[in-house]
Amino acid sequence: MTDSTLDRVARATPPRVARRIRGLSDRAIAWIFVAPTIILLLAVNIFPLIWTIYLSFTNYRANRPNAEVEWVGLRNYQRILSDPEIWQTMQATAHFLFWTLFFQVLIGFALAWLINQKFRGNNLWTTIIVLPMMLSPAVVGNFWTFLYQPQIGIFNNIISFFSGADPTSFSMIGDVRLAPWSIVIVDTWMWTPFVMLICLAGLRSIPDSIYEAAECDRASKWRQFWTITVPMVLPFLMLAVLFRGIENFKMFDLVVQLTGGGPGSTTELTSINLKREAFEKWRTGYASAYAVILFVTVFGLASIYVKALNRVKNR
């Protein structure tokens, strides 16, 4: 007679342990399995969050651990929310967030629609388009600084080829008017494939029978697109917008590598500004209040999106 794995495990379990497990209820065993994850989550997520909220009400500085910590109440929040420089970084973030989402959704959906048409080399093109997403943001930031070089950069030369302007006459990352657009272009280049993949999943989930029924009813391609394709891809698109929106609100590495927040502070997004407050100026309490403000904003945004997503899904 052959032994099953279960039999072998049961035989290998020491009698004392086996007796103890037999005495436990299903609920207790479930808790034993879930407890490590809960403990890890509490230690890694919940405790730092509570600690950050506490620090946001103090003048604690991480570079002076022995200094006396003073309770300052809401003073950190008052200072942040009346600081024109932080207001400026919020506007830079809003510009980045709005335009990256706009271009990524537009181009991502268009690419997904094209890839979804049956043509030769379809899979090869999908792989090529997805490549930028697989690169490290630090690497992408680094090599785009070369592409943006006025003298030798390909980007400036392409613009010059189409517009006739001298390639050395403008600098994408050195000009205060162009620098915010330079980070939008790079992020769009890198993350449009992600939106495309999600949209492609949505497009491929639409059964052909719906289009066939529409054909029978003599619906035009335009009408099929607006009444079948768009509504059925919408939940996927909203999910992509949620993911990219939250990620871009926290954007750090790519922009630091590309512009370092400059020129001046035109591309200094909130996360870069927060890092400077926390680890260059070492105002830990102040930076904690700043982090709490950003957390509440992202949490609120995510709540609305999840609600909207559920509504679209239930339609």
């Binding site: 929310l81 207001w87 809003a94 509440v296 904003t297 945004l301 709540s303 609305i304």
Partner: protein
């Protein structure tokens, strides 16, 4: 409109979630708008109120 108001009075989830969502959206617009500093100053209170309200009212009956 009267359905919305009666939903609010009878503590129903839908209308209250709508109010919370509007507060969150308004708070985020106030945080990121480039026009007036006072709106930026009050944005966090509005967002926080909306978010906490959303957490509470999402437990209301349908």
């Amino acid at each position: 409109m009267s359905g919305f108001v009666s939903g609010l009075l009878r503590l129903r989830r839908g209308p209250w979630e709508m109010v919370a969502s509007i507060l969150i959206g308004l708070g985020i617009v106030m945080l990121m708008q480039p026009f007036v500093l006072w709106a930026f100053t009050w944005s966090f209170i509005v967002t926080l109120t909306g978010t906490v309200m959303f957490l509470i009212v999402s437990h209301f009956p349908e």
